[in-house]
Amino acid sequence: MASYSTDRRGALKIISAIGATCAYPHASDELYGQTVEHQHENAPPAPAPLKPAYFNEADFLVVSRIADLIIPATDTPGAVGAGVPIYIDTVIAKNKNQQTLAAEGLQWLAEKGFSDLSEEGQLAVLQPLCEACDAGELKSRPVQFFQMMKNLTADGYYTSQVGLMKELGYTGNTAMAEFPTCVHEH
């Protein structure tokens, strides 16, 4: 077993021995540069289906509208611009419970004439659901429906190319020759 001096000076000596003189077989710095040549292409998104697999055209329009009210276009595209409605359709198509909840929620909105309301009117319908959702008051089915829509919209948007790369500015998944040392004061 290696015996190390436990004082600080001893530690510094060992660190410099490993780092500078390549006493250790893995420390061959001349090979270090090869990592720079390892490049990653961030591949394009999978082609999305053009038509919803589960929702009919009218319901899909309402779903798209809700998604776009939850995450609207700003200086970057919103939920619709990022293809989120098709993602929502893909998920719900595979889940019976979500289908039931979606049917109930869409029916509830239809009774309020949601599709024909102005943006302000539509927000006035959804905002109370959103507030109940934030407060954790999830007993009512319309609130549960809103929560499902918000979850799916957030999941879909921030895993889309638009959401992750453009909106959030994700820059990872690349090769770095060295990990940068933090130079800030903390």
């Binding site: 290696a2 060992i14 998104p45 995450i71 959103c130 770095m176 990990f179 933090c182």
Partner: protein
Amino acid sequence: MADKIYDVVVIGSGAGGGTLAAQLAQGGADVLVLEGGPKIDTRTDFNTHGLPFQFPTRSIPVMKPGKQGMDSERSRGVGGKTLLWNAVALRMSQRDFKGRQHDGAGEDWPIDYQDIAPYYDRIEREVGVCGNLDHLEDLPDGIFLPPVPMKCTDEMIRAGGAKIGVKVIHVRKSTLSRASRTRPACHFCGNCMAGCDVVAKYNSADVQMYPAIRAGKPLTIRPNSIVYELAVEKDSPKISEVRYLDRETKEQGTARGRVAGVACACAQSVALLLMSKWPRFPTGLANSSGELGRNFVPHITCGIAAFLEDRIGAPPVNDEGFLDHAYIPSFMHDRKRDYPRSFGYQFNYQNHRAVGWARSMKGMGKSFKESVKAHYPAYITFTGYMELVPNRDSYIDLDESVKDRYGLPSARRHWKLADDDWKRFHAVQDWGRQILTSSKSQILSVSETPTTNHEIGGCRMGVDPKRSVLNAYCQSHDVPNLYVVDASVFPSASEKNPTHTIMALASRTADNIAERLKKGEV
């Protein structure tokens, strides 16, 4: 294959099996490795560089299209979980091996730190471990490559921890921070747990077994071989035959060796011994003590999510690195507390290509969108890992009612926190909150529910054959040619990630087997 008698048949090819097989073969023993899964090429087969939007459901499959592997607990692939591990490599300390001596709880190991230290040295020289020399009593230093710089967000937690006397150190990982003769250094692409396409991160196949084979050593790997039974001789308690099913054809096969090394990753090793029932061993192979399956002590974890205030609204940076760059070692041993043992924290190991927390931000519309964007660079995960003291309600058994496609019963885990474990869990929550608050964080969530990680125990080593399954060399007390080399053998877990100790123990066991083969004792 049934005709040939190997020196050693190793079952499983991960950290334990890979280390054992490669070291024995390097020493000249004739070794067969039976691996339940297919051969996997870490350079080409994993979706290491996948991004969520490349997949319609946004979840990234582990394997690339048409590539097999990691498809069940019993059939992962050549290299086992080392292909997808996060590579944290921590030495256990003398206090970890003798926990009972220190605080009266749990069980001591039959070995001391000085028994295993030379093997930690050997593994670190062999595979390359980066880290800093920190001179901590409870986390011994090793032979390290230079540490990787901490992230900016790690430095914030280091500063916050220092204010309340909690030390943050560089993480120690079996990932190269400098190139070796045969492997490049890490390039920080940020997805270690989805494979490593350059083998900067250790895996047992590319770092240990394939080099032995390339050097012409007598090591044979048989992939797609799901071992379901170890047969014993009629008139002695020795293993005569290892029986397996072909993963694809389900055809039966047998292999024979002078020694069998079981390394199927804790619960599956225990399950294999429990499935091997014989008149001499009616409750499972090597179970004269009745301890097989008992003393299951998985790590208990508590996840905390938070936003570092100084990073809210800051521009995003590429700091995925090699996931976590820092670590909080156990710090409770010297403090007053009303429970035995301790815990540590792993943190900042999330990469930034999934934003699962976005849905929990309040509101909707433009303000919601702005809030997610502002918090994106500030998000960190922070997870406490604590030891579970063995108790009679925590064990592994077979569930005969749930069978897999090979007709084999599933391994069932039972675990429960005793009062002292709950006290420790609450301390993990409290200290986590304190450290994050001291680091100027907004805490998003603190898990109230303990979850498990790192399966440990179930086939423990010990001095007393009545209270343990294996001796100090991981050899069965009952079956002289049976060895087990994975985390199932740990009598106690410590709070440290187990793989480094699995490898050091496997290396020590390999020495013992080689010596006994040489002497003709097996």
